[in-house]
Symmetry: C2
Subunit: 377 residues, 2 copies
């Protein structure tokens, strides 16, 4: 018998980040590896790391070599492929038991990351769909599904950028927080996708990036992305954002999201809420950019969103140096919640939700809504 | 002839900070030195540094070994004494020329802190007052004046605390920013003086401290002071303050000031303005605590206050590690301006200015105003 042809990774539009390896990519065919850009070393060192087994993927997600909800989801999907690859010659029941076991193991690594559980569930369902008589073909289907998820993520992010790019005024200043960029997704990012598409369309603007304490994703990752894409970028301490607005240098604020409730209340990286308050005071449009998969319509409002408290040492031991005296505690929530009333609009792959109300969010998920109106300018 | 007796430094109430050397003190008589607690090494190392000439004082102010508007003023006064000490045997005109030259040199060191210019002006006037026939005695008078200023600063700060302590609600949460404490003054501090006096009066409360990027004065200095004084203290990243307010954990915000315009607009450490906006949104009282010497009534409003732009590397090279990629600029203003309309009151040694208006500020300086009404609670 002839072996089926090998499985080829999808060709993905990686966006404008020349000179940076992809956030993640599958290299090779059935016997390939998951290659990650190691984000813990950025911006000082640009190095990739190949994961040939699921334990290496687990470790990479755990220590934030790969981060950002969409990127974590896709990495976990490939991790499930790697973890079940040695078992593709087992009988079907034993193989499916392995799928569940490896999936449970991957879910344990960052239990609050909803995209991780979503990706595992999608691949588990695919495994159960068969073909029942051919486990090797089922495993092939898992790898193909992971490839689909990677390609979909990049395409979704690009559409978010296309839907929101016109929000960026020519000659204006844009402020963002944390990293909602290509490094948090397969390509393009969410909030930063607007900037990349606007730049490709010839629009000129200045990007201002909060450094984003405690882990400095804005300074380390977003500034790196934007400068690689040829976008003029200035980093500031989180506390300086309001004074930039006061000085008239910001015309748009755009951030990502970690979870969005049914009424549009949005959990995002700590510091986002203060930006939204300052933007409102200065009459500056404040937008969230996120795919539909970030909405959690099971939660009525922001008060229902669980807020992860992270280790005190992330604040205390800034970059390895102890900055607080003995005896001082630290408060280190990972996220805050910005009420829908402070959000001008939410840019999704299906259009812009505006105004941000429960009815508008619901309309976004209505199969009869082809597309919500785009911004006119 | 008998030499006049040596000049003895004043005895100063240093407040509750057992185990910490004074922020600054003159050690010795006419041939003494200015001894500074080197704040760049805190909280890890507690070391003092002796300045025997004006260049060492200038450097210490510039690189923030000594910082905080009131402390800078007193340090500059002693710096003027050190800088003119070699010239106390010159003829009067040549000596006064030296006073002006050294004063100009010291004023160049940090542009926003009005106390520095205020201190230089006060000592220059003292030098011009003579006695005209005795330059050595005039120099003695300068050193005595600097001693007076040090003692006055500690007493003024203590009075600020006494005037504002009742603003802190029993069992409440207090938020502060940067360091407006004993380390920013000769003793007690401005904003933190309220906390020390309230604590001495038996009031219980929790202190929350913004870490205050880029130089982390909140995490390094304020947390150190407060924990040495036995006050319960929690450090947070600057971006997390608004979420603490949202959670109902803050009942009072109190900060210091670097310069206050005639209408009450207040320049203070970058990040203060964002706190004022968030406090207003949440209906939380926002107070500034500062001595009368921090008012600059020559400036009509905050737009007239010069804002010092500090080196980009303070942001870029966080704690010695480069955190931004090549090509990214950094925005690093030392201060921002909070409009008077966002300030509930200004606590001074003469009472509380409230509401914060030009008329109320003017009344504070009216010699017929014995004391503006204190807070009633």
């Amino acid at each position: 018998v002839n072996a089926p042809p090998d499985i080829v990774p999808p060709v993905i539009d990686r966006g404008p980040l020349a000179g940076l390896p992809p956030t993640l990519e599958w290299v090779g065919g059935r016997d390939g590896v998951l290659r990650l850009l190691d984000q813990t070393l950025l911006p000082g060192r640009i190095e990739t790391r190949d994961c040939a087994n699921v334990e290496q993927v687990w470790e990479a997600i755990r220590v934030l070599r790969v981060r950002g909800a969409p990127a974590i989801g896709v990495a976990a999907a490939y991790g499930l492929c790697l973890g079940t690859r040695p078992h593709r010659h087992l009988p079907r029941a034993a193989f499916l038991a392995q799928v569940r076991e490896v999936g449970q193991y991957l879910r344990s690594c960052r239990p609050t990351a909803v995209n991780l559980a979503w990706a595992i569930a999608r691949l588990t369902a695919r495994a159960e769909a068969g073909p029942a008589a051919d486990v090797a073909a089922t495993w092939d289907a898992l790898l193909a599904e992971a490839h689909d998820m990677a390609a979909e993520d990049a395409a979704t992010c690009r559409r978010i950028g296309e839907n929101g790019a016109a929000l960026i005024p020519e000659g204006g200043g844009v402020l963002t927080h944390c990293n909602a960029g290509a490094l948090a997704t397969v390509a393009y990012g969410t909030a930063l996708s607007l900037l990349y598409v606007a730049r490709a369309r010839g629009r000129h603007f200045t990007a201002h990036v909060d450094e984003t304490r405690p882990l400095l994703q804005g300074a380390r990752l977003t500034a790196l992305e934007l400068s690689r894409a040829g976008i003029d970028v200035t980093v500031l301490c989180d506390g300086a954002a309001a004074s930039l607005m006061q000085a008239g240098r910001i015309q748009l604020v755009v951030v990502g999201a970690d979870r969005i409730a049914a009424n549009g209340d949005t959990a995002n990286k700590i510091g986002t809420y203060a930006l939204a308050l300052a933007a409102r005071h200065h009459g500056i449009p404040f937008y969230v950019a996120a795919p539909l998969s970030t909405f959690d319509r099971a939660l009525a409002c922001g008060a229902d969103i669980p807020i992860e408290q992270r280790p005190e040492d992330e604040v205390r031991a800034a970059l390895g140096t102890a900055i607080t005296p003995p005896g001082a505690r630290c408060y280190n929530p990972a996220f805050d919640v910005t009420p829908a009333a402070l959000i001008t609009g939410i840019v999704t792959e299906k259009g812009i939700v505006r105004p941000v109300t429960q009815a508008q969010v619901q309309r976004l998920f209505d199969p009869n809504t082809a597309n919500v109106p785009r911004h006119g300018s």
